[in-house]
């Protein structure tokens, strides 16, 4: 306090609730006894209420639409590296599948003879292989089931290569037929 009266900052600290319990009690006691400080405190509280009750500003009706249009314009177009990353993942899956099949062939679980899809371990292997390399691409799955040739160990690479080409084509087609990101709401 300056002299015997509260300063504006002290009164505002009281109004804002920024005084310690002891400070609050002391200020309240002083205001109770000092008519000048009581009057000033009421004035500041009135000011505070008036400023708080000032009308808030809203936006014009077209504000949101305009903002959304701006956001849409600034969204990045699909980037090419996403495609390459994605293809790399698919190639990785395919290589993994080829390795798994290779391991089975080398360990004798799949014999290099005519296989009948849908029966026994070899059929299960083929179905798993179908699932891995052609999930979502019924073309490859159907192709492998109906046209599967005898699988001599030496033709595994050719077989996998063919599947890979078809897979890439299918996946490229899926990728480019997808809606661009910046059109998705």
């Amino acid at each position: 306090m300056i002299g015997s009266h509260c300063t504006p900052d002290e009164l505002y600290a009281l109004i804002d609730g920024n005084l310690s319990p002891l400070g609050r009690a002391s200020a309240a006691a002083h205001i109770g006894e000092c008519s000048t400080c009581a009057s000033r405190n009421r004035l500041l509280m009135s000011f505070d209420r008036s400023v708080r009750s000032l009308p808030l500003e809203g936006t014009d009706p077209g504000f949101t639409a305009s903002l959304m249009a701006k956001i849409e314009l600034t969204l990045p177009a699909p980037r090419s590296f996403r495609l390459f990353t994605w293809i790399a993942c698919q190639v990785g899956l395919l290589v993994t599948a080829a390795v798994v099949v290779g391991v089975f062939v080398l360990t004798g679980l799949i014999q290099p003879v005519q296989l009948e899809a849908g029966k026994g371990v070899a059929g299960d292997m083929l179905r798993s292989l179908d699932l891995i390399i052609a999930s979502g691409a019924g073309l490859v799955a159907g192709w492998s089931r109906t046209l599967i040739p005898p699988v001599p160990a030496g033709s595994l690479t050719v077989w996998s290569g063919t599947a890979f080409v078809i897979l890439v084509l299918v996946l490229l087609d899926r990728n480019f037929s997808r809606k661009p990101l910046h059109r998705i709401r």
């Binding site: 900052d9 505002y12 004035l43 009135s46 903002l67």
Partner: protein, 161 residues
């Protein structure tokens, strides 16, 4: 919107700046670390955008921080018992709005963040990027200057009657 409007003054410019701020926030969303509330983080972006716009303008009303409140004078109006009632009239609210626009921008920002956005001192330091002491000083000086000017105008109007 109120913060932008009180900082820059013009409605169309304020809307433009709010939109720019939304865009910046959208683009920088991955940089939001959660150190502050999202709203506080957004106010900081908005404040920076408004300040950049204000700096581009050279002829600003009320940017002179030497426009300091006097310590005494008409700051209390002890002799006006009806002042407290009049303060809550529509007429005085209009005066308040006008005088807030005339305040230096640092005071205007502090008052708006405190009264409109209802931020705490610590949140205000985050938005305004100044120390706590500066926030308190600007808020206090802003309040005092606003009170002085409003009371002066109220007295002038009473005197003119």
């Amino acid at each position: 919107m109120t913060l932008a409007l009180r900082l820059v003054g013009g409605r169309s410019e304020a809307e433009e700046l709010v939109q720019d701020s939304f865009l910046r926030a959208f683009r920088s969303l991955d940089t939001f670390r959660g150190d502050a509330k999202f709203s506080t983080w957004f106010y900081r972006i908005l404040y920076n955008v408004c300040m950049t716009s204000l700096r581009r303008r050279r002829t600003l009303p009320g940017t002179d921080l030497s426009d300091d409140p006097s310590q005494e004078g008409t700051a209390w109006a002890d002799a006006e018992p009806d002042v407290q009632e009049r303060l809550e009239s529509d007429e005085v609210r209009q005066i308040l709005l006008e005088e807030i626009r005339r305040l230096p921008e640092a005071f205007r920002a502090a008052l708006t963040l405190f009264y409109v956005q209802e931020l705490k001192y610590e949140e205000m330091t985050f938005v305004l990027q100044v120390p706590l002491g500066t926030v308190k000083t600007n808020l206090s000086r802003g309040r005092t200057l606003l009170r002085q000017r409003v009371l002066e105008r109220m007295n002038d109007e009473v005197g003119a009657l």
